[in-house]
């Protein structure tokens, strides 16, 4: 008894052997039973000892057990199987997992498939190769070389100022290089080489990065190549706009895909094996090279100085305003459309100058191609009639104009009506009416012209002019009436928003929501055009000097182009060609003036001044009333040329900088700078799309905002509800409503549309501004446009009218699906109460939102993309809210039950 009075220490037990331990156990057990008896018999004093003894027994048992297991472990060491209770416990899932070698086992079939059809990478290897080997310097040297040569070339070119250039040439120190070839042919060859170099520079400067972007166009091209033209024409795409689908062949501009397809088949026919993907990637740079050449041709029609053409080609080749839409991999309609725009204008000027039906027909052909390629063809449709109209108002009606315009209009309209997407629009909608009106007006004028030539009476002429005016007025009135009565569709929304700038904001939120449809602030102009922007007015002014028919075109184009570019960022693209041409005219005039080796003699000019002063034309500009004398000093000449050289160099550097910094970062891969200046690539988009591709069913429907539709369709290859082709506003509003309503409302919508996954973009962790919370108000607005009773923009603001996401956000905001999906579980990243949205600089409430109808499926590395799975219906037929509440409340209820006093059951 006395022996076992003290507590047993586990540490002392380890040294004992098995028998001693069993003995001690038996002793302790007897002592315990004695104490139990004592407890019943008498109120003994040692009752507390029962506890100690029990603990001691346990200790002894533990030691015995541990020793036994240690022995067993020794025994089973190196045996094949281990008893279950000696194995590591871990979790049930881990215990049942396949062993690494089993897991990595691959079927022979799969192995073959992986080697032969590996997962595609999103960039083209040869082009990346080019990127590495054509860095900045090469592009610069390319860009600058033609400019310098252009200066040297042009001394001999201005025939009208220097009737005998050959005589002055020998005295020119700068000319020594170019004078190697005095003949015309050598100069022609040199010009071709320079043009080729410029085109090369234009292509090279677009190869900084390669990511194929509108994926939809690429998909369509693949379909075209795989299934042929007629199948493409009838293509019904059921993997977008679920469950509606999209009649793709009839709702797109097929020019781009057909161009790539034709190139593909042509190369195949030449036995050049090429992947359609490479053609798509390189189409835009190749066409920008062609654009440079078209700009050269167009400028040559404007001015006799051929250096202007070369400069225009150079500017066009490297102006960031155009590069922005034509970098390698930017596979969008604009890639070919700008070339067609410039080329159509060139053909139009050519037709107008020569009054030639052939050129007019070519112009119509090019116009038809343009209509097939880009919705922006309406720009041409309005600009050419306007040009004709201005010419008529200036009293410059001529048979040349008549032939050129009527040929273009008749053939061009017929050509444009061949495109199913355009169809009968050219005779039904208002934006095509000016062209039709001018067509009719020209017929009248031609008739009157004929009558006038037949009847030489002055009074009759006046009467006829009045008649013409009245007809025009009546025609206009008829147009207005027809429009208001509904025979002619009114101006389409997108077009109308150009004129009445407030219109889109009020009536068409979906147009206003696109960032490309925002107005342009001045830094954007300077960013995209640099010094061209202030040389532009100079060129336009110089056009006023001569003001032939083609110069009127430049003036009209400049005015309307700059207006549209000011209203919409995207239309900077249509302004860029005219800016390049005008600036090239300005620079070449400056160079022509200051690079001339001929210095005037003061005495001669003073003598001739008196006689020539009177000759100046009455209708020309005031500043050009005096004759050109020339520049006297060599200092002035060298300074001016030097300054222009510096400006051109700066321009090339600027373009390179802008291109490499701003326009070469593809939208799906974000590049950021770390504090130490190194580049950090954020690749969340591709990570998420890859996840979708590998972890979801082939036909799993993904709901996201429409901005990501094409990317999901292309990169993840999953059906989407809405995408960048925003043809159905109601469907987009449905998605907007699902995103902006509470879960109770959204869940039925998602079930009805068979949504499997919901994808949101969240920039709160990284401070990424292009995320869905920032776009959220547009979703609300678009949804409100269709369901004004159910979605209300006002309720997403706080009572003080602020758009907030922190604790003070409005209840509607906090309950909206978008908010919940964005911030779900976000708190867990931070210490309690310190969750911060870095984008909006807002401290989030301590308790994050809870989701009951969705579950988190995937969140990318930087939390930019979050994907949620829509839960299936509950197994027990409950709704998800109560199921979730039950799950959450389960433990709590049990606890209360335990604690509460037991009630006696009476019945």
């Amino acid at each position: 008894m006395s022996k076992s009075s003290g507590k047993v220490k586990a540490g002392q037990l380890w040294s004992k052997n098995k028998d001693e331990l069993t003995k001690q156990l038996a002793e302790l057990k007897t002592e315990l039973s004695q104490l139990r008896i004592q407890k019943i018999v008498s109120s003994g004093t040692k009752l507390t000892k029962i506890h100690d003894i029990r603990k001691s027994i346990a200790r002894v048992l533990t030691v015995i057990n541990a020793k036994q297991r240690a022995q067993l472990r020794l025994f089973y060491k190196n045996k094949k199987y281990l008893p279950l209770d000696l194995r590591a416990k871990q979790t049930r899932a881990i215990r049942r997992r396949l062993s690494p070698e089993d897991a990595s086992r691959v079927l022979e079939k799969t192995k073959k498939r992986q080697t032969h059809f590996p997962q595609r990478k999103f960039a083209v290897k040869p082009v990346i190769f080019c990127c590495c080997f054509l860095p900045l310097q090469l592009q610069q040297s390319f860009g600058l070389l033609p400019g310098v040569s252009a200066f040297r070339l042009q001394t001999g070119e201005r025939q009208h100022h220097h009737p005998s250039p050959q005589a002055t040439m020998s005295a020119d120190p700068l000319q020594t290089l170019a004078s190697v070839g005095k003949g015309k042919s050598t100069r022609g060859v040199l010009r071709v080489i320079i043009l080729a170099l410029i085109a090369g520079a234009a292509i090279a400067s677009r190869l900084f990065s390669v990511i194929l972007d509108p994926w939809f166009n690429f998909r369509a091209t693949k379909y075209l190549v795989a299934n042929g033209f007629y199948n493409f024409w009838d293509w019904f795409d059921d993997r977008t706009w679920h469950p509606l689908g999209r009649v793709t062949g009839g709702t797109l501009y097929p020019g781009l895909m057909v161009t790539s397809g034709v190139i593909y088949h042509a190369l195949r026919a030449l036995r050049i094996p090429v992947d359609i993907r490479n053609i798509c990637v390189l189409l835009a740079p190749a066409f920008s090279g062609l654009t440079a050449i078209a700009a050269y041709l167009l400028t040559n029609e404007m001015t006799p100085s051929s250096s202007a053409g070369l400069l225009a080609a150079l500017f066009m080749g490297i102006a960031p305003g155009y590069i922005s839409r034509s970098v390698a991999g930017s596979y969008d309609n604009e890639a070919i459309a700008i070339f067609l725009l410039v080329f159509t204008f060139y053909l139009w000027i050519k037709a107008l100058k020569q009054g030639s039906m052939l050129w007019g027909a070519l112009c119509a052909l090019s116009y038809g191609y343009m209509v097939a390629s880009w919705g922006g063809y309406a720009f041409i449709t309005c600009l050419l009639p306007l040009h004709a109209f201005v010419l008529i108002c200036m009293g410059r009606y001529s048979t040349r104009l008549y032939v050129a315009y009527t040929t273009w209009y008749a053939l061009g309209t017929l050509a444009s009506m061949q495109i199913p997407f355009v169809g009968f629009l050219p005779v039904k909608t208002s934006e095509h009416m000016p062209a039709l009106g001018i067509f009719g007006f020209l017929q009248l004028l031609a008739f009157l012209d004929y009558v006038r030539s037949a009847i030489p009476s002055r009074q009759f002429q006046t009467f006829l002019w009045v008649f013409a005016g009245a007809t025009f007025g009546i025609g206009l009135l008829g147009l207005v009436i027809a429009t208001s009565a509904g025979f002619i569709a009114p101006w389409s929304g997108r077009f109308y928003s150009l004129w009445d700038t407030g219109y889109a904001k009020i009536h068409i939120p979906i147009i206003a929501s696109v960032s490309e449809h925002q107005p342009t602030a001045w830094p954007a102009f300077f960013f995209d055009l640099n010094m061209l922007i202030w040389l532009f007015p100079v060129g336009v002014y110089l056009c006023f000097q001569e003001l032939a028919d083609e110069h009127v075109f430049i003036v009209v184009y400049a005015l309307f182009g700059s207006y549209f570019a000011g209203v919409m960022v995207r239309l900077m693209l249509t302004l860029t060609p005219v800016v390049c041409i005008a600036a090239a005219i300005a620079v070449s005039t400056l160079l022509d003036t200051y690079l001339s080796t001929k210095s005037p003699k003061p005495e001669e000019t003073l003598a001739t001044e008196g006689s020539e002063g009177k000759k100046a034309a009455k209708s020309s500009l005031k500043s050009t009333s005096k004759p050109v004398v020339g520049v006297y000093g060599l200092w002035e000449k060298s300074m001016m040329v030097g300054a222009l050289g510096v400006y051109l160099l700066l321009f090339v550097l600027h373009c390179t900088w802008v291109t490499s910094n701003a326009y070469s970062s593809p939208s799906v891969v974000l590049a950021s700078r770390l504090p130490d200046g190194s580049q950090h690539i954020i690749d969340d988009y591709r990570e998420a799309y890859q996840w979708l591709r590998q972890n979801t069913r082939e036909d799993a429907k993904i709901m996201s905002w429409w901005d990501y539709g094409y990317q999901i369709g292309g990169m993840a290859d999953r059906p989407t509800l809405v995408d960048n082709n925003t043809w159905n506003n109601t469907h987009i509003a449905t998605v907007g409503k699902a995103m902006s309503s509470s879960e109770e409302v959204s869940y039925p919508i998602m079930r009805q549309h068979e949504v499997d996954y919901v994808l949101v973009v969240f920039g709160g962790l990284l401070g990424y501004s292009g995320d869905d919370i920032n776009k959220f108000l547009w979703m609300v607005r678009i949804a409100e446009g269709i369901w004004p009773d159910e979605v209300n923009e006002r309720s997403f603001f706080t009572s003080r009218g602020e758009y907030r996401v922190d604790g003070e956000a409005s209840e509607t905001m906090k309950n909206s699906l978008m908010y919940k999906m964005s911030y779900y579980n976000y708190n867990n990243l931070f210490p309690p109460g310190q969750a911060v949205d870095r984008m909006r600089q807002a401290r989030l409430p301590e308790v994050g939102p809870s989701l009951s109808t969705l579950e988190e499926a995937f969140t990318s590395e930087n939390w930019i993309i979050r994907i949620y799975k829509v839960k299936d219906l509950d197994n027990l037929g409950r709704d998800h809210m109560s199921a979730a509440a039950f799950d959450r409340g389960h433990k709590k209820k049990k606890a209360t039950k335990k604690k509460g006093p037991r009630a006696l059951r009476v019945e």
Partner: protein, 332 residues
Amino acid sequence: MRVLSVFSLVLGGLSLAAAAKSKKSSEERFQLYHGKALSSSPVKLGDSSYRELTATPRDYAAAVLLTAMDSRYGCQLCREFQPEWELLARSWTGGDRKGESRVVFGTLDFNDGRDVFMSLGLQTAPVLFFFPPTVGPHAAASSEPLRYDFTGGAQAAEVVHHWISRHLPDVPHPPIKRPINWMRWISTFVILSGGLTASYVAWPYVLPIIQSRTVWAAVTLISILLFTSGHMFNQIRNVPYVAGDGRGGIAYFAPGFQNQYGLETQIVAALYGILALSSISLAVKVPRMSDPRYQGIAFFVWFGIMFVVYSLLLSIFRGKNPGYNFSLPPFM
């Protein structure tokens, strides 16, 4: 939450009022106020009549505008919306003289209904409440009044008409009849005929201006400069002309690449204009000067201006885009 509390206040007030004014039935009240509306719609309400009109139960609908027209309160929105509201009420009541749609339009000015404003806890005016019927065939599910938001500024009568119609299905919606604005037609006619006469008289003097190439060139260049310096952005976004820099001074240039002030665009347009003008002078005017000395002076003046202004422009642009690192002397 605040809105809810307002509603509960309204309801509380309504039930109290109903208890106090239970003498008149719903039908009597409607006849009373509809009769008033026939003579002048919207009905001008006071504290007590407001409570009477909006008391429950009611088998008619009431649309009440709570406004503050007194110039002391300086409510611009109230004054802008008032004519539209009166037009709506008049054409609705006029188009529905028998009261088939069973709507009463009323206006409660702050001066007449201070207590109502207080009891509703209203801080702002105007507020448009729509009280749907609580009994009868068109009774709404909840008797809470609907509040119209004036977030988008003063609305046209048609918009409010649409809103009211939406909450009143199955009853006639008399359309809005805008009175013919005789004044406007007459003034347009007078101005037009005056303009025609003036142009006829002044034609010989105007013609040379219209045909002058210099005038057209100037107009074209100025509009190009306006458009390329972001004037349309100002128009669309209603940007401020200048803003304070937070230290009591004036900030001429907005921070950030996507922002600009009105004055800023004018400065930029002026810089572009000066640059263009100097280039034009250098290209066109200077080589036409016959005196070598004057030519030299003119060249250096224009050349200097061009060089300095371009450098200034680059430095301004650097201010807008911190990552930009090209510059020219003297503004390095």
